[in-house]
């Protein structure tokens, strides 16, 4: 007994040192009282956009509902289409105290820009909800319907100036898919890229003919400044969107989903992933979260175990679409 104790006494530090050498320092165990330190939530975008709103809303609901008592510290790491936020996350390998709230840029940014990291370099935790793109025109535009748009691009593919976020992003893909399902070469359409709210100003000012955007455009629609031609959702949305027709019901098979989800750093311990999947699972059942979904026109798409497989499938779909547009080399 004594002998064994002594052996252990000597062995412990040696083993500890050996294990330190073997597994890198950052591979923390998940403590019983996890999370026992403030959680840093990285937002890979500037304050004020959809991804920012998503991160701030999720952390707020988690705290207010008492699901997570540990405090959240929000860090905005904007830039380069989310690539900077991803690069930051990859550096935090094994860190259980960091989360990243992401969107489709985990697919699109590496595909389009050749940035080094994609969703494959991080630990998927959960997909939460989706937003759908809308196609709009300014109030006094001569364009009245999707048919008008299609008729024009059938005659001359470049004649309509589409405006939306950066090239190759969901706004561009929505316009390109509309062209594709109408038998028009999607590479020949005219798409003017904007960032942030600039495209809204361009739509209102008539600098683009047809604009694309998310549900936040509803304020301008209900205010009478813009008209909606179609919503790229699989079925009609609710609330103020209930009256807005989808692309599908107008005969155009175009659905553009932008989801928001939560990732952990690479090599996040399974117990940590489980904790957050459970916490988010509890959150999506609360009334407070339901209210947020309705308010922001977010459509519930909660998904945990199947999330990695969904990501793989989507990645291939995006790659295909972008190859068709000539934006990604085969």
């Amino acid at each position: 007994m004594r002998n064994r104790l002594r052996t252990n006494f000597w062995l412990a530090p040696v083993l500890a040192a050996a294990s330190l050498l073997h597994t890198p320092l950052y591979a923390q165990d998940v403590p019983k009282d996890y999370p026992n330190r403030p959680i840093e939530w990285i937002i890979p975008a500037a304050p004020g956009g959809g991804i920012d709103l998503f991160g701030r809303t999720v952390t707020r609901v988690l705290s207010e509902q008492g699901i997570v008592t540990q405090s959240f510290q929000i860090t905005n790491k904007p830039g380069a289409g989310g690539a900077i936020g991803m690069a930051e996350m990859v550096q935090r390998k094994g860190d259980i105290n960091t989360l990243l709230g992401v969107a489709l840029h985990v697919h699109l940014t590496p595909l389009l820009q050749g940035t080094p990291h994609s969703y494959k370099d991080m630990t998927p935790i959960a997909k939460l909800f989706a937003e759908y793109a809308m196609m709009v025109v300014r109030k006094d535009s001569p364009i009245k319907s999707l048919d008008d748009v299609v008729e024009a691009i059938k005659k001359d593919p470049g004649s309509i100036k589409f405006g939306g976020s950066t090239i190759g992003n969901t706004d561009h893909l929505t316009a390109a898919n509309l062209a594709k399902v109408s038998g028009v070469d999607p590479r020949k359409i005219t798409f003017v890229p904007y960032t942030g709210g600039e495209s809204n100003a361009a739509i209102l000012g008539g600098h683009v003919d047809v604009g694309m955007g998310g549900p936040d455009l509803i304020d301008l629609v209900t205010g009478g400044e813009m008209r909606v031609l179609g919503v790229a959702s699989p079925e009609r949305l609710s609330g103020p969107f209930a009256e807005l027709p989808t692309f599908k019901e107008q005969g155009y098979e175009v659905v553009t989903e932008t989801w928001r989800g939560v990732f952990g750093p690479p090599a996040m311990p399974a117990a940590g992933v489980k904790y957050w999947q459970d916490a988010l699972g509890k959150m999506v059942k609360t009334d407070a979260w339901r209210t947020e979904l309705t308010k922001n026109q977010w459509v519930d798409r909660f998904e945990t175990e199947s999330f990695p497989a969904t990501l793989d499938r989507e990645h291939e779909e995006f790659r295909k679409s972008l190859i068709e547009l000539g934006l990604v080399a085969k």
């Binding site: 830039g79 380069a80 950066t166 003017v192 890229p193 600039e198 100003a201 361009a202 009478g224 400044e225």
Partner: protein
Amino acid sequence: MESFANIQAGFALALQPMYLLMALGGAALGTAIGVLPGIGPSLAISLLLPFTFQLVDPVGAFIAFGGIFYGAMYGGSTTTILINTPGESSSVVTALDGYKMAQNGRAGAALSTAAIGSFFAGTVATFALMILAEPFVSFALSFGPAEYFALMVLSLCTVTAIGGGHPSKAAFSTLLGLSMGMIGLDSTSGQLRFTFGEASLFDGIDVVVAAIGLFAVSEVLFGLGNLRRQPESRLVSPGPLRMTKEEWKRSIAPWFRGSGLGFIIGVLPGAGATIASFMAYALEKKVSRHPEQFGKGAIEGVAGPEAANNASAGGALVPLLTLGIPGSATGAVMLAAFQGYGINTGPLLLKNHPDLVWGLIASLYIGNLMLLVLNLPLVGLWVKLLKIPEALLYPMILTLSTLGVYSLNRSIFDLYMLFGIGIIGFLLRRFRYPLAPVILGLALGPLLETEFRRALIGSRGDWSVFVGSPIAASALLLTLAFILVPILIKAVRSVSGVKPQMP
């Protein structure tokens, strides 16, 4: 007029003690933020957001944000004038004459003209916001890619012209800034350029990092290089604090011009405080009867730009409040705050939440007054900074710069950039290349390129788009005049001046 009834109600709301306190708190915090290089108003507001959602009602929060917004503009000029460390890119141009004024013993006057000019411009802009919001929106919306491109070309050319020293050296500085602006993600095609796989460069070189490096760090390096050559300390006396009658007289017109120009530029969602301040400086130099004093401590060079950057902050609220389109980074954060409170922005904001909008406008008046009251007495305290000997001041500047830059993105790479750019700034100074055009080139380069390409994509490659609209055409014509007129004048003078000497 309806506006005046509304603003009365707004004042009644904003004058409640609780809201007055929020305005004071915001103004004080904003000033502190402005003094610290690096931390800008947008970062400060976004840090505060999670707390405000829980603690105060929307009206109170926006009153505090308004105070921060304007306060940062005030504070930014203080370090610029005293220690040549611009806290925001919009106060870079103030360094040209403000710092020289401090060196000439007129620090008090420079700080006062900046503070009073800011107050004046803030009040004018708020007033304009109140009555001109509607017509200005349609004006702002008429700016498309071609118009923005022409506006950027105009500002780059005017700044190159005002840089002082040899025009070709100023042109070199501008081009250096433009090429630094090429680094990072190209927002049109989405391609990475000149980043060499370094993630910190994906988003380009941060303008604030470059400004602090070029001005503050190079100032220290340059000062250290000269220490041994100076027999005695180059400590400057703060001089009398008050502005002289002459200085008042020279400040008033620039305040007016700066306010008008700043407001108009601020309304445009694609421009901003930086362009506004640079253009105001160029304007002052053009209309001045003694342009040779610019760059050597002309008070107009402080009064105009400082008025302009404050007025542009007011202008930026126009598209935000009327359409929900942010005109600046701070505007974007305020939009996020609206969303966080569940307030729908857009054209219906004024209809649905008149108390909020008019309360905000009223509190901007109050906040401005508070800032003046807060800042004028502080001038006496601030100028004491000048009494600190170099041995203490230089490390202080470096500490402040390093802290400020690190707090921006919490990136060590930014610190390497800071000191690397500082060394470049030292070399530029040594060979008498102006520094301000580098910052403008860096800030405008990406926008210039993006708007240029948007215009051509939209016109399907037709170059006539740049002269197709009256605004774009006249801005480009003005640019041409800026370049050609001095050359023509010189040519005419040399022809008529040389003749008599000919045998």
